[in-house]
């Protein structure tokens, strides 16, 4: 089949009534989750994942993907209106979005970020469509050694690049791997770390882990945060959202640059939308002729990052679908969905499941158009959502988490695990250990072990195999560089902080909080 018949096949799948409905539902839920600060996309996907058991795999993925990219659309709303990022990927949007809202230009900011989001996402989808099949073709040359190297790179990158301390990131990965070891060994069925508990034979549930570390921990963290919002409804009325000619003129290039950067960082393991958004902001400020406008409501400061994070959302699917190697914690959950629905992600996916692959990609267009339509006229509704006090919202969320955990295996043990992982996640937040590398370590650890052992058998016990095969050698070299750079830069950052701490404290405003949010990144 050629390229265009594939697209037609995908459109046919995406436009069935059922898929349209679930695409809409996913986009709607995603926006909702994105608007409410604190309720992360990981918690949302892990909560709704058991619901998809009754759906066709394609439909299930379409819905969950809708939640994933929908949150990034919705996430800008709270950033702009409340100076609280809806998701970590939107944190940087606070810097200029909130000042715009204070200047009475909140409606314009909301409208323009939706446009930027759509532009970035479209850019990402085009790349996804063009490059995934090429990468998948190439991936058939990958053996166990290459897969091991690739996953090692993903773990090292996610723990050293994306968040605060590289050492703490590596510690999180290690904890994740150890949790992943619980249960029967995948090669010989030897039981490990189950401590005689038969419920642990099949290992720790991915859903329980994700819900605990992200959902429950988030709720505990949020208990004492702002309770409800105070927003001027006039500023978001439809007539107040028309941008000026100057706004439009200033927006083009930041959007384009943001989309390119976002697409690139989306495909890299361990980076994703948050990093893409931050770097896009830094670039815009650096190249601007009027950098002093940034932080005071410069529209470039929201257009670049919002375009970047949505582009990254889309291209993050490239390694997951073509190699079966998830680059981020959310993609690890998507991988779990695929497995549960009997689809083996990897180089064979596109040829064995063309309907799923092309249908999913074409549904991204549908979903993004739905989001465009949902976000612009419904801005008023989303704003009202922000006025629901958290103390009403969170008990309900907690209840859904418990139901979700129980039904994912009909096991009460899962609920205990959610509670235990909630405590672990909370402790990790307090001591600033990032959560995403833990989840990635949990998913990739057992896969890495499998590939490592097989690579060893195939090399007849020769460790140098990882450095002799060209692809593997290159990946290992990059991994080494990433590790060195990560540790070095986090040391440098710490020294800088120490220096700043010695200087007198100069009022830490809201942007500081936004930055902290991004560090907690759960992309």
């Amino acid at each position: 089949m050629d390229f265009f018949s594939n697209l037609a096949l995908g459109l046919g799948v995406a436009f069935t009534l059922q898929n349209l409905f679930y695409c809409f539902l996913g986009a709607l839920l995603g926006t909702l989750v994105g608007v409410i600060p604190g309720l992360g996309v990981l918690a949302a996907i892990s909560m709704l994942f058991p619901l998809t058991f009754h759906l066709e795999p394609t439909t299930a993925l379409i819905m969950l993907a809708g939640i994933w990219y929908g949150t990034t659309y919705g996430g800008s709303t709270a950033s702009i209106l409340l100076n609280l990022p809806g998701t970590p990927a939107n944190a940087v949007t606070c810097l200029d979005g909130y000042p715009m809202a204070k200047q009475g230009r909140g409606g314009i900011a909301l409208f323009m970020t939706t446009v930027a989001s759509f532009f970035g996402a479209s850019f990402g989808i085009i790349l996804l469509t063009l490059f995934t099949p090429i990468i998948a073709d190439y991936a058939l040359r990958f053996g166990s050694a290459e897969y091991f190297a690739l996953m090692l790179m993903g773990l090292v990158a996610s723990s050293t690049i994306s968040e605060g301390s590289a050492i703490k990131g590596l510690a999180s990965v290690t904890i994740g791997i150890v949790i992943g070891l619980v249960g029967m060994d995948t090669q010989t069925a030897t039981v490990r770390f189950a401590f005689g508990n038969l419920g642990l034979l099949e290992g720790v549930s991915l859903i329980a882990l994700a819900m605990g570390v992200f959902g429950v921990a988030e709720i505990i963290m949020s208990v004492r945060r702002v309770s409800a919002a105070d927003i001027d409804p006039e500023s978001v009325k439809l007539k107040a959202i028309v941008p000026t000619r100057d706004d439009v003129r200033r927006s083009w290039f930041p959007m384009l640059r943001g989309a390119s950067m976002g697409s690139f960082f989306g495909t890299l393991p361990g980076t994703g939308p948050s990093i893409a958004a931050f770097l896009s902001y830094a670039v815009e400020k650096r190249i601007s002729k009027t950098p002093e406008r940034f932080g005071n409501g410069a529209i470039e400061g929201i257009m670049g990052p919002e375009s970047a994070n949505n582009a990254a959302d889309q291209t993050a699917f490239i390694p997951t679908l073509s190699l079966g190697v998830p680059g981020s914690a959310t993609m690890a959950l998507m991988l779990g969905v695929l497995m549960i629905h009997g689809v083996a992600p990897g180089p064979n996916l596109i040829s064995t499941e063309p309907e799923l692959f092309w249908g999913l990609i074409m549904s991204f267009w549908v979903g993004n158009i739905i989001l465009l339509l949902l976000n612009i006229p419904l801005i008023g509704l989303w704003v009202r959502m922000l006025t629901i006090p958290y103390h009403l919202l969170y008990p309900a969320v907690l209840m859904f988490i418990c139901i979700g955990a129980y039904t994912s295996g009909f096991s009460p043990l899962n609920i205990w695990m959610v509670a235990a992982f909630g405590a672990l996640g909370y402790a990790m937040r307090i001591f600033r250990f990032p959560g995403a590398p833990l989840l990635l370590g949990f998913v990739l650890g057992p896969l890495m072990e499998e590939h490592f052992r097989r690579a060893m058998v195939l090399a007849r016990g020769d460790f140098t195999v990882f450095f002799e095969r060209p692809i593997s050698a290159v990946i290992m070299a990059i991994t080494g560089l990433v590790l060195i750079w990560g540790v070095w830069s986090s040391e440098a950052l710490r020294n800088k902080r120490r220096a700043r701490a010695q200087a007198p404290e100069t009022g830490r405003g809201a942007p500081g909080q936004a930055e902290e949010e991004a560090r907690e990144g759960t992309n």
Binding site: F53, S144, A189, L201, E202, M339, T352, F410
Partner: protein, 316 residues
């Protein structure tokens, strides 16, 4: 055995007949202890819609690969014996215990056999652009340059099949384990392994597209799905006949009435013309069985495989 006796006692006197009539009261999940796209998985997915229609409840296929199918099998042995968690597995159920003595469950008492679904033959496959066009060439070359043989996991029937072939042919194959037939076929496609004892459905479209080359059918006779492919007996390797059955199990202690009902429903699906038309091109020989008959078969095979493993020196 104790669990079985208790279950029988309960069934004889105390159990309410309502249990079987009300079954299933919720989603039925069928655990497949292999990665998606192997032949067991494909068969289970072909069966699921028919069972769903019959039972009026969703039937979910849950892949739990690892440990040569023992991870998923152990999981079902721990599940609630309410008939809502079932296992569809291969003869690895009887071969794996022969070489893995430390399993955390007893295959005789912790799982209840329900139905034997049918058999597939094995075909020996290699990469489409492999320089070897016949099995003899590959075997001969392996004696100079050792080759890698893929299996669907330690202790699975494909593992036994390849070990048996190695013993018969004197080929120099090192065995590498994968998590099911799907990943093993990918290893053939990528050239990571040189030979795999596949089923027709695991190799799938790759045979037609020429990405996978079929060298022989393991056994005495050719098969209808691939009439041009020689059998190993024809090629001068007798006694390599090996079949793989696929069967359905429930956790030990499941109400015998529920077991009987599932057995009857599965047998009905196996007689469904539409279903038969879908799976026969995949080289399935379908069976009709009773729970008792299948249980006796399993018991007998558990003993005979153990003996074979000891004789061939591959038991632990």
């Amino acid at each position: 055995m104790k669990k079985m006796m208790t279950a029988l006692a309960i069934a004889a006197g105390l159990a309410s007949p309502l249990a079987a009539q009300d079954w299933p009261s919720g989603t039925v999940s069928i655990v497949v202890p292999y990665s998606p796209s192997g032949n067991t998985d494909i068969l289970a997915r072909h069966m699921a819609p028919y069972l769903e229609e019959k039972w009026g409840q969703p039937v979910v296929i849950d892949n739990r690969p690892g440990g040569g199918s023992m991870v998923g099998t152990a999981q079902v042995s721990q599940a609630n014996p309410d008939g809502l968690t079932l296992l569809v597995t291969t003869s690895a159920f009887v071969t794996a215990p022969a070489i893995q003595p430390d399993l955390p469950f007893d295959p005789r008492t912790d799982l209840t056999p329900i139905a034997n679904v049918g058999y597939v033959s094995y075909i020996l496959v290699t990469q489409g652009d492999s320089p070897f066009d016949t099995l003899e060439e590959l075997v001969a070359d392996s004696k100079e340059n050792p080759k890698f043989a893929a299996t669907a996991g330690l202790g699975t029937t494909t593992h036994f099949a390849i070990e048996q072939f190695i013993a018969q042919s004197g080929a120099n194959f090192d065995v590498v384990h994968f998590k099911g037939g799907g990943p093993a076929v990918v290893a053939i496609l990528s050239g990571e392994a040189d030979i795999y004892g596949s089923s027709v459905s695991s190799a799938g479209d790759n045979i037609a597209s020429g990405k996978v080359k079929v060298l022989a059918v393991l056994g005495n006779d050719r098969i209808d799905a691939l009439p041009d492919v020689p059998s190993t007996a024809e090629l001068g390797y007798p006694e390599t006949e090996i079949h793989q059955w696929v069967g359905v199990f429930a956790p030990g202690g499941t109400d015998p009435e529920i077991v009987a009902k599932i057995n009857a429903d599965i047998n009905e699906v196996l007689r469904n013309e539409e279903f038969i038309a879908k799976v026969t091109p995949l080289d399935w020989t379908l069976e009709q069985s009773t729970p008792e008959g299948f249980a006796a078969e399993v018991d007998q095979e558990l003993t005979s495989w153990k003996k074979l493993a000891e004789d061939q020196g591959i038991s632990k």
